[in-house]
Amino acid sequence: ANGGTNCIVCTVLVGLVEQLAQVYNEGAVEALERFCSFLPEQLQAPCRAGAEIFAPYIAEAIYNKETPDVVCHAIGFCKVDPGHKACHIFPVPKEGMDAALRRIQEVKKMRQGREF
């Protein structure tokens, strides 16, 4: 439901990148690169390929102080199925989860317009 395993994997990864950025006092793109450099050689290329696609959105969202839950809803790995409530593991944004998701809907529409 709500994106299931894809959602938890996205949220954990974005959460770790965001925390790495804090620990090393750097931007999200550098933190993502650092995360990929920790992986075994064989996995670094796929990691960087994934980072190429998602880094702009993750960086923008983290720069805007979005929570990892909201970021993963914005890039589509998490969603709210009919009849379900939004899931989150990180603290809820001040404006509340539903308001935050409504706000990023605009971002998602724009992105879909740009063939995200």
Partner: protein, 395 residues
Amino acid sequence: TDICDIPGIKEICNIFDRAFSSHLPADDLDKDGFSTMKLLDNDCLTLSQGLDSETGLPYEEVLCNGTEPRGLILLGDSIGAHFHLPPQWFEAKSLNPSVFKDLLFILENEIDWPELSTATGHVNNTFGEVIKGPVDSIYMRLRERNRCNHRDYQNIGVNGGRSGSMNSTIVRSLVRNRMSDYPALVNIELVGNDVCNGHPDTLAHMTKPKEFRNNMLDTLQYLDEVLPEGSHVWVSGLANGSLLYANVHDRIHPLGSLRNDITYTDFYNYMNCLEISPCSGWLTDNSTLRYLTTKRAFELNDVLRNITANSRYKNFDLYYQDVPIDEVIAEWEAQGGQGWQLIEPVDGFHINQLANALGAAHIWEMLEKDHPNVLGKVNPNNDRIKQLFGDQGGY
């Protein structure tokens, strides 16, 4: 066409299918069911090499005959396989290349560590920071008791294993030659998955007692066809999983360790919201649901007690044993420890390395006290075997 029909990829799909669906070794060139190639005994004993100079008889006859050797076989779930996700993977401050060094090895083993587990642990824990704690196991103690048991173990613990899949798949990947292999000491250990699932209406998806009974009877019937005469089977009951929430619910999850902002209750609720919880009946802040899940677990234990009290088999004797997690926690707390120190930090569901080792000691003592016959005698030739064969070729 299916990608697995394409020549070349087909073989890769077969390897994956063997390993992750049939739970058979991925590479098994000599098809003896044991993954590494050995030209000698299929139970990998090294005592078959050479003849005793005094008697002219094979060493295995001189040093093992009559000493009641046996193999240890674990049939079970992720607890038996020893599922462990390194907490460092979820802590930004701990992330560095060394914590991911064994990533592919860990994934290939389905994040299980049978080589360090309660049943079949047999290597020193040299994996560094990703898994810490002592190693002790039933197999290691059987080997100490009789060196002729060296390398005679199988861990067929499968993540998610429950009585249905145990009967349909898991038990059928057990390998034992009834004529040439020693008797086996088998542990069937299904600690929770018959009452654990990720469904929101979890109670409706739990195994019912009648179905559970049929599955277990079929599994035991199959074992009676494949085990050598003189084997022993002990069935572990389901756990009281309520103790998980009781011990960790208000503690900080590794993913929240940087800002202390995620508790295990948050983690449990998140998994339940995504409907991917390994056990939504126990990993929940709903106390009524935890009670009802434990109630079903105890109903299934009554089924096991009834089966072991009333069933007789040709090739093995059968025992029931409560899973001792409550006692192990109580013993640990009596030494000044705390229950949460025995629970896996990332999933808050499995027992950790320390608990695996403490569990082995506790189960061994229970078996020695209640059913010493299943362990076999102490081999008087142990010292001679050590003197002649050293570590018997290791692992």
